[in-house]
C-alpha cells in the first residue's frame, strides 16, 4: 500500500510539472523561440493571436502547441517556418504563411524529419512552396488542415502534403488546393489517406510512388492537371473516391502504372478524359465502380494482365474501353454497359449475347488520333454497325460474356 501511494504521489508530481506556457504580444513570453527553449517535455504552449516573424523555428521537445484564433507564423517568403523532429508532438490551430522557396532544397512551411507520433491538426498553410513535408517518420497524423498554394509558375510550386520514407501515417480531412501534387507518397507504407479534398493542383491530386500496403478512401480529386497517379506499388486499396473533371490530353481519373495485387472499389469516375488509364498492371480487381460521362471510361494497355473487371456501371461514356493491342488477358464480367443492345430472352437479367466494349472506331482512333474529328458521323456509326455484325478489327476476346440488362445499384 505504501509503495502504491508513493507511486501515486510521484505520478501526481509528474502531472503537476507539466506546465502551460502562454506566448503572445501581451504576455511575459513574447516569442515562440523563447517558449521552445523554456519548455520541457509534456508542456503545452498556448500561442495568442498575433503575427510572429521568427525565421525558422526548431522544435525537438515533446510538447503541444495550440494556437488561439489562428495566430500567424510568417515566413516572409524567405524561411522554412517550423522544423520538427522528435516524438509526441502536437501542433494545432496555427496559420503558417508565406514560407520560402529554394530551388535546391524542398523548403516547406512545416517540415517533419525523423519523428514519430506527431499530430498536425486544424492548421492553415498558405502561399507555401511545399506545405507539409514529412521524411523518415512513423505514426504521423495530418488532419483537418487547409492548404492553399498560389500556383505562380509550375516549377515554383511544391507538393501540398509530401511524405517520403515513412510508415503508419494517417492523412485525414484535409483540403489541398493550388500545389504541384496535392498529396505525394514516395516509399510510404501501411498508411491511410481518408476523406481529403484535393482540387486544382497543377499536376496530380494524389501521387503514389513505390508505396505498398496503403489505402485511400472517400477522397475527392477534382480538376487536377493530370488527375491521380498510382505508380510502381503493390497492394493498394482505392475505395469510394471521386475522380472528377480531369480534362486534357494527358489527364486521367487514375493513371495506373505497374500496380499489382490492388483493389479499386466503389469509386466514381465522372467527366474525365480517361477514367482509368492502365499500363503494366496485373492481378487487380476493379469492381462496383461508376463510370459516368467520360471520354474513355478505361484505357487498358496490352501490358496489363490477369485483371478482373466486374459489377461496374458504364454510362454516358464516349468510349467504354480503349486498348492498343489485340491480346486480351483480362476478364470482364457482369458489368452494365449502356451501349449494350442485346436481348434477354430467358429473363435472368443477363444479356444473351456478349458485349464488345471496344468499338471499331475506338480502335481506329487509338491508331490515328486525328480521326476523332469524324466522331458521331454517319460513316463511323455505319462502321461500328458493320463491325458488330462481322467483327474483324476489334479484339474478339475482349468481351463481357455476362452483360447486365439493368444498371447495377451501387
Amino acid at each position: 500500500m505504501k509503495l502504491f501511494l508513493t507511486f501515486f504521489l510521484c505520478s501526481l508530481t509528474q502531472l503537476a510539472t507539466a506546465r502551460t506556457l502562454l506566448v503572445g504580444p501581451a504576455e511575459s513570453i513574447r516569442s515562440l523561440q523563447k517558449a521552445f527553449a523554456l519548455a520541457a517535455d509534456g508542456d503545452t504552449i498556448r500561442l495568442r493571436q498575433g503575427i510572429y516573424k521568427e525565421g525558422t523555428l526548431q522544435l525537438t521537445k515533446s510538447i503541444t502547441l495550440l494556437g488561439e484564433n489562428y495566430p500567424v507564423l510568417e515566413g516572409e517568403k524567405k524561411f522554412e517556418i517550423l522544423h520538427i523532429s522528435g516524438k509526441n508532438i502536437t501542433i494545432r490551430g496555427i496559420h503558417f504563411r508565406n514560407s520560402g522557396y529554394s530551388a535546391m532544397n524542398d523548403f516547406a512551411s512545416i517540415k517533419l524529419v525523423d519523428g514519430s507520433h506527431i499530430t498536425l491538426d486544424q492548421n492553415i498553410v498558405s502561399n507555401a512552396y511545399f506545405a507539409i513535408h514529412v521524411s523518415n517518420c512513423t505514426y504521423v497524423h495530418i488532419r483537418n488542415n487547409r492548404i492553399t498554394g498560389i500556383p505562380a509558375s509550375e516549377q515554383m510550386t511544391g507538393n501540398g502534403i509530401h511524405l517520403w520514407k515513412s510508415s503508419h501515417a494517417t492523412i485525414e480531412n484535409n483540403v489541398i488546393k493550388g500545389h504541384r501534387d496535392g498529396i505525394y507518397f514516395e516509399f510510404v507504407t501501411s498508411s491511410f489517406i481518408r476523406n481529403n479534398h484535393s482540387e486544382n493542383n497543377i499536376r496530380y491530386g494524389l501521387h503514389f510512388m513505390f508505396s505498398n500496403d496503403d489505402s485511400y478512401m472517400q477522397n475527392r480529386f477534382i480538376n487536377n492537371g493530370a488527375g491521380v497517379a498510382v505508380m510502381y506499388s503493390k497492394r493498394v486499396r482505392m475505395e469510394k473516391n471521386h475522380f472528377e473533371e480531369n480534362w486534357g490530353a494527358s489527364a486521367y481519373g487514375i493513371l495506373l502504372k505497374d500496380i499489382t495485387d490492388s483493389h479499386i472499389l466503389q469509386n466514381v469516375f465522372m467527366k474525365n478524359t480517361v477514367g482509368i488509364f492502365m499500363e503494366g498492371s496485373s492481378r487487380m480487381e476493379i469492381t462496383r465502380n461508376r463510370f459516368l460521362n467520360n471520354g474513355w471510361a478505361m484505357k487498358i494497355q496490352a501490358s496489363c494482365d490477369d485483371n478482373l473487371f466486374h459489377y461496374n456501371n458504364f454510362t454516358g461514356n464516349s468510349f467504354d474501353v480503349g486498348t492498343n493491342g489485340t491480346m486480351v488477358l483480362n476478364r470482364f464480367e457482369n458489368n452494365y454497359w449502356d451501349k449494350y443492345d442485346g436481348y434477354d430472352m430467358n429473363k435472368d437479367g443477363i444479356g444473351d449475347v456478349p458485349y464488345h466494349p471496344v468499338s471499331m472506331y475506338s480502335v481506329i482512333v487509338e491508331q490515328n488520333p486525328t480521326t476523332l474529328i469524324l466522331f458521331r458521323s454517319f460513316m463511323v456509326s455505319l462502321l461500328d454497325r458493320a463491325e458488330k455484325a462481322i467483327p474483324s478489327l476489334t479484339p474478339e476476346h475482349l468481351i463481357d460474356n455476362k452483360p447486365m440488362m439493368k444498371m447495377l445499384r451501387l
Partner: protein, 143 residues
C-alpha cells in the same frame, strides 16, 4: 521566279525535317517511359532520333529503361541529352556530362542522380550531398 519558288519549297521541306532537340514544356509534356507529367526542371533527359522523333524523360531511370528496351536505339540517335542540374531546363550531352549519385538527391523516379555539364560544379555539389562522381558509362548501366 520558278527557281525561287522551288528553292522556297526545298528550304521549307528541309527545314521541317531538321533534327533538333525541343525544350520541355513543364506541366504539359509527359515522360515517354513512366507517363508522368514533367515538372522538375532540375532533372530530365531527351533523345532525338535521326529521323527527328523526340522522346522526353523525367529521370535518368526512365531514359535507361528506354535505351535498354529499344536495343538498336542508341545508334539511331542524333541527340542524347540530359538536363543540367545546376542550370535547370538546359540540356547538355549525356555522354559528356558528369553525374553525381547520392541518395540525398530526390529525382522524380528515385534515380538519385544529377547531371552537370561542368566537372567542377559536379564535384562541388557532390561534396555537399556526400555523393559519388560518375560518367555516362557508369550511369547508363553498361558496366
Amino acid at each position: 521566279m520558278r527557281f525561287l519558288n522551288l528553292l522556297l519549297i526545298v528550304s521549307f521541306l528541309t527545314g521541317a525535317c531538321s533534327v533538333k532537340p525541343e525544350p520541355f514544356k513543364f506541366g504539359k509534356d509527359l515522360c515517354h517511359t513512366c507517363k508522368m507529367t514533367l515538372m522538375d526542371p532540375k532533372f530530365g533527359a531527351e533523345v532525338v532520333t535521326k529521323k527527328g522523333r523526340i522522346f522526353k524523360f523525367d529521370d535518368l531511370v526512365c531514359l535507361n529503361q528506354y535505351l535498354q528496351t529499344e536495343k538498336e536505339a542508341e545508334q539511331n540517335l542524333s541527340h542524347l541529352l540530359v538536363i543540367d542540374f545546376e542550370k535547370g531546363d538546359a540540356f547538355t550531352d549525356a555522354r559528356e556530362a558528369w553525374y553525381v549519385f547520392s541518395t540525398e538527391i530526390k529525382s522524380p523516379m528515385a534515380g538519385h542522380t544529377a547531371a552537370f555539364s561542368s566537372r567542377e560544379t559536379a564535384e562541388k555539389f557532390s561534396g555537399t550531398v556526400n555523393g559519388t562522381l560518375k560518367r555516362w558509362d557508369e550511369v547508363s548501366g553498361k558496366k
